[in-house]
Symmetry: C2
Subunit: 141 residues, 2 copies
DNA sequence: ATCATTGCAAACACTTTGCATACGC
DNA sequence: GCGTATGCAAAGTGTTTGCAATGAT
């Protein structure tokens, strides 16, 4: 994985602003999430970065993902899979999952997000939308 | 758990129509899901029904839930918890999760479901909506 | 008699934890 | 030097699987 000096600087800044020491491992994990927007699992991150840091451990992946999630730099995605998926895209958006190939895409929901802030007496702070269907490439596009 | 004879008959019918033999265990699990609409976990179902059938096993819970899900009689809910939650409500609806007490409610989405069947080139077959916030009782209502 | 269902125990997969080593300020 | 980060190994948790016993037709 090649890195531009600028994007590394941006990641370091973001980490420091969140009160997180920008270590080599943490930067690489953030970089991976920012660059490969496939909503990877901990395992995917681990096996990829293991190539660059031979001593890299899964513990560090889990530690770091948990930390970044708590600090609001990334978010964990609940899916019907057994593995948690992560993403660095923190702007409001939904997701589309292809029931055929399993790929997970970001979805722009500008026109379809429900506007209500209160439903059935409950105060709504956030909507998570997961659409399912057949993705563009599986349809043969 | 008390059972009306009518609801048992309805459950048996539904199971048979799905090609599932209506055994005692399966009926109880369906009945539990139909009656206690709290979106229980396998563990919750197990510990409750264990009271009625002392030999009841978790394997049967998992076997049955998987079978019922495959046959379309119940659905499994992906949440950010580590345990899967199940429900027998098969009409289109969303969910609301209280970030304070953890309770999970059904949500009527008639007015807020996005109408698009195609987004970004992907064919959408289903939308799952998970709202999060503070539930009515946690707000003090 | 045959085939499906149940249920115990063991296996599994993902994640977390305990603790010793190594690193950065 | 001291406190944090890392990483190995072990434990933990939810779920699945292998297989023998049981039950239904």
């Amino acid at each position: 994985m090649k890195m531009s000096r600028d994007s590394i600087r941006g990641i370091c800044d973001a980490l420091e602003q969140a009160g997180i020491r920008p270590t080599h491992q943490r930067i690489l994990i953030m970089k991976y999430l920012a660059e490969y927007r496939v909503h990877p699992t901990a395992e995917m991150i681990y096996s990829k970065l293991k190539e660059e840091i031979p001593t890299f451990s899964k513990t560090t992946v889990y530690n770091t993902l948990k930390l970044l999630d708590e600090k609001g730099l990334i978010s964990a995605l609940a899916t019907d899979e057994d593995q948690v998926r992560y993403e660095a895209n923190m702007t409001p958006h939904g997701h589309f999952k292809c029931i055929q190939c399993g790929a997970l895409f970001d979805l722009d929901l500008a026109c379809s997000l429900p506007p209500e802030k209160e439903v059935g007496g409950h105060l709504v702070l956030e909507y998570q939308v997961m659409a399912k269907g057949i993705c563009r490439s599986c349809r043969g596009g």
